[in-house]
């Protein structure tokens, strides 16, 4: 379908606006990015993922991949969007571990969540 330039600009604006709303939703990658930025004060997720504003918008509105298939799905997504796949996987693992720790009911569960995170990603979730 051919879109006019005005429609393309409007679509891009709406995409950015929707990405902004996605940051409030924990079931989106945007929500994970917001959580990562909150935990890593001063760091910019766009720089970390090597993504510009438009790429960030597209990745942000994407549903959060979960479970054992997460790394493969995240890598495929990153490849399609031409952003850093390892950084995306690490970011998502970091947030999954942080959420598991927050939601855990006792110290034992918290310790296991923390150990999972350390083994997978390194202490601060940076790319190894």
């Amino acid at each position: 379908m051919n879109k006019s330039r005005a429609d393309e600009r409007e679509t891009k604006r709406l995409l950015l606006a929707m990405a902004s709303s996605a940051r409030l939703r924990p079931d989106t990658i945007g929500g994970a990015i917001a959580a990562w930025e909150k935990a890593n004060t001063g760091k910019d997720a766009g720089t970390y993922l090597r993504a510009d504003g438009h790429q960030m918008a597209k990745v942000s509105i994407t549903p959060l991949p979960v479970g054992s298939g997460m790394p493969k799905q995240a890598m495929a997504l990153a490849t399609d969007l031409a952003i850093d796949g390892f950084a995306l996987v690490n970011l998502l693992r970091f947030v999954a571990s942080a959420r598991a720790m927050t939601e855990s009911k006792n110290d034992g569960e918290r310790l296991l969540a923390a150990l999972d995170h350390d083994i997978d990603d390194g202490i601060d979730g940076e790319t190894p």
Partner: protein, 195 residues
């Protein structure tokens, strides 16, 4: 290929676990969806209409298997969700207005509330500010925009930064559209107060 055919194919890819299809669906559907919902609801606030469309898309993307392709095109399905959300939002807003009696209190102010005078009043009367904010602040970032407007800010880059948008042309354009919508809400508030 029509929009419906494009969306049908992208839906099948999303169901098969291809995450990249999500943002492609949004790119295809968002503009026609906003137009359909704008024409089909009583919501006057464009930003609220857009938010209902975003919520409908998020709801679908979070559970794409709820959509049955044999029953209706995806765009119709999304529009039905968004229009339902918009109606709920409109009813909720009406109930809030009746409950709080905010306009009755605003009528105590002299004359119509213009943007300039509202600026001063919003700053000077914390209780009214709190109630006015309920009508003006609808999304994340709106409070920051209102504060900047009250301070007389007019730089698009500063508005963009206040709502966490990237500072490029598209980010500034989105920020200024939100500022315009805020002005529209203030004008509508003033008109209702003048009646």
């Amino acid at each position: 290929m029509s929009v419906d055919e494009d969306l049908s194919e992208l839906h099948a890819r999303l169901i098969n676990g291809e995450l990249r299809a999500a943002s492609k669906i949004v790119e295809q559907a968002i503009l026609p969806l906003v137009r359909i919902v704008s024409a089909s609801t009583s919501l006057k606030d464009r930003q609220e209409v857009e938010q209902q469309c975003f919520d409908a898309l998020h709801r679908y993307l979070g559970s794409p298997s709820d959509y049955q392709p044999t029953k209706a095109p995806l765009l119709n399905y999304l529009a039905a969700i968004a229009i339902g959300l918009a109606k709920t939002a409109a009813r909720s807003a009406n109930r809030r207005i009746l409950r709080d009696g905010v306009y009755a209190q605003l009528r105590a102010l002299e004359g119509p509330v213009e943007e300039e005078s509202l600026r001063i009043r919003v700053k000077e009367w914390p209780e009214v500010r709190k109630q006015v904010e309920e009508d003006l602040v609808k999304d994340p970032g709106d409070a920051e925009l209102l504060d900047l407007m009250a301070d007389g800010e007019d730089c698009p880059a500063n508005f963009a930064a206040a709502i966490g948008m990237v500072g490029d042309e598209a980010g500034q354009e989105e920020a200024m559209k939100r500022v315009e919508r805020m002005r529209g809400r203030i004008r509508r508030l003033g008109k209702r107060n003048a009646k």
